[in-house]
Symmetry: C2
Subunit: 403 residues, 2 copies
């Protein structure tokens, strides 16, 4: 299973525990990309042979994604990443309605306060345009509080956005319960409430089939499921209507103008097929390693507190702990020097210091929020690697505490 | 020089004459990308070793671009393509002003009617928000009419946008003259008028140094200068102020949120360095081939009319002719079967039929506009290939005329 990393890294035994921020490119995906970084360089909008090859490749990748997610190809839009997919889902939905005679001030969006910046910043922007943004409470483990969601939904609610799995604390939302609440509200108000899932962390570890997710809009990021960086996906339901957020040519049915990144798209399609074909087995293995890792960490470091839930509704590869009063920023640098790649929080919230917004919200505790460590394991991470991590972390704590 | 195309294509002697829509990836760029499609897969925002390697690579590419364009690295923003760069330049400028207390209705933009959809659709969108969009006339060759530009500029003009080289008819604007008119207006009104150049067609054939271009904002597309698809660049002047158009993390100084496409960015940096290092020699060779090709085509096909200017101010690799009443859409398909990859117009305006907006504007002639053929040559295109093209085209015309 150790198909990533250079030989040198393997000898140095680097232990990469940051799968939430970047995943290695699946070798098959790389192979699929090769021709399009070589002789097959055509523009998919051209009608000559080179263009046709590109067009067939893009559409073939779209079909693979659609099959993996059990949806129709026409509902799959390729973007330049998860951030753009989230923007297209949220801004695109609101702008579609806006250009169909609905004022910004007549629309409401419900989301949580633990979303990724590519969701939270979009709704803040929309708030500036007059859209009412309501924040539903989450409990101490990060689950949306259904009663509060029920309370917040109104006849003006056009969209509910939440991460399928939170990138920091790994809470996996109970989609069926959320969907039920949304559906009830739709019936009550005779309205449509688009259910947007930020699925960036999902494909390697969770079922992403559109009908089982129950989502209207699912955003994905190729670079987080062993595809290339710079490619994202927005998958829509039949009833979802979005408008493009950047303007130009008619590519991607007008939703995403610009010459298609053929190599990236075929890589993403290949990676998605593999991710979803094997998610269950992959998750099962990772979950066992994760649970053993959590056990070891909490045993060796009794001062550590687990952030996020335990069990089935924790993302299979996510471990997140707080070690109150520890300078965990420094800890990541020190662990890096010992060969462990770990993070304190989401890479997109900036590498710099500062507390984790997510942990602050769920714990309401600044000490916990400013002492987080996130370990996101891969399919080949071993328990012995996590034991070594715990040993090193113990050493670091003792060292710094004795200063 | 024949460094693109598979051996099979070479044997089949395919003649690729659509460099305006897609260019092959420079082998050096591919080599530079390889590690980042392999073991060096880190997220540039992560603080561990894998992240640092990614960060240094992105910044190294930015430095190479800055050196090639004789500007400072901090003025270079990586996007997901030329379309996004044009959006960021135009929307980003207007939105920056809008969020600094200037109403949309107090802003004017001047552009032409021969711009690429990634410019024309953006200004149409802004027009819907209340920005006054004024279209400056171009002459029969596509040059901006300076007297009309002078007339249109007002104290409300915030931006003037034009293509450095038009992607269809190859007209290269006389930047110094445009800049002079803009500067005079700025002095007259005591205002700032951002000069935006869509430079998508420029890097292989024209000087793109920021100070000689005199632009405030220069948009570029890696896939058009032998870099990978899915990467673009916005280069700003010191005084240009733009705001992000999609929302998320703080990457690219906040101007372009989303995990950096490290492989794509390093490929773009490498390709840009090569493109600009050799543009003069490359253009000189292409210009000679182009002029001979035009001569041959006009001689063998006397019914053909050249669109765009001749000489120095025609893009070195661009040939565009109209053959009145010919079904040129069908001609491209037929030529493709004979091994020639050509186009009728810009790939981004859609592969489908319909007249060329650009040729319609410059010629005011629907017959000419609906019978265009564009041949955009590469550094290794030969005169004998263009002679063969002319022979085949002659054959096609005679064949269809006799029907």
């Amino acid at each position: 299973m150790k198909w990533w990393g250079s030989d040198k890294d393997r000898k140095n035994e680097r232990v990469y525990l940051d799968w939430a921020s970047a995943t290695p490119l699946l070798p098959e995906a790389k192979v699929a990309m090769e021709p399009f970084l070589g002789s097959d360089f055509g523009n998919a909008s051209s009608i000559h042979k080179e263009g046709q090859v590109a067009r067939e490749t893009v559409e073939g990748a779209r079909d693979r994604v659609a099959r993996a997610l059990q949806t129709r190809s026409e509902y799959v839009t390729f973007t330049a990443g998860g951030t753009e997919a989230n923007n297209l889902a949220i801004l695109g939905t609101v702008n579609y309605l806006h250009h169909n005679e609905r004022n910004y001030s007549e629309m409401e969006i419900v989301t949580t306060r633990i979303e990724h910046p590519s969701v939270s910043r979009v709704v803040e922007y929309l708030s500036g345009l007059g859209v009412l943004v309501k924040y539903v409470d989450v409990d101490e483990e990060g689950f949306v509080i259904l009663a509060h969601l029920r309370e917040l939904l109104s006849e003006s609610t056009v969209l509910f956005s939440v991460a399928y799995a939170n990138s920091e604390i790994g809470v996996v939302q109970k989609l069926h319960r959320l969907k039920k609440v949304l559906r009830e509200a739709e019936e009550r108000f005779g309205s449509k409430i688009m259910f947007h899932l930020d699925g960036a962390q999902a494909p390697l570890w969770l079922n992403c089939q559109m009908d089982s997710a129950g989502a209207d809009l699912l955003s994905l990021d190729s670079g987080k499921f062993c595809g290339p960086k710079g490619v994202g996906l927005l998958v829509s339901s039949k009833r979802a209507k979005v408008e493009n957020v950047i303007y130009g040519g008619g590519q991607e049915a007008g939703l995403r103008p610009g010459t298609e990144n053929v190599a990236g798209i075929v890589g993403a399609g290949t990676a998605m097929a593999d991710a979803q074909a094997n998610w269950r087995e992959r998750a099962q293995i990772a979950r066992a390693v994760r649970d053993e890792g959590i056990k070891i960490l909490l045993k060796d470091i009794p001062e550590a507190i687990l952030n996020g839930p335990s069990g089935e509704y924790r993302l299979a590869n996510n471990i997140n702990i707080s070690i109150p009063y520890l300078d965990t920023e420094y800890a990541t640098v020190w662990l890096d020097s010992k060969g462990f790649s770990v993070s304190t929080k989401s890479a997109c919230s900036g590498a710099g210091g500062g507390e984790s917004v997510v942990v602050k919200v769920v714990s309401n505790n600044s000490v916990r929020a400013s002492s987080t460590l996130r370990f996101t394991i891969g399919p080949d991470t071993s328990i012995s690697q996590l034991q070594k991590l715990a040993n090193n972390l113990r050493k670091f704590i003792d060292k710094t505490t004795n200063l």
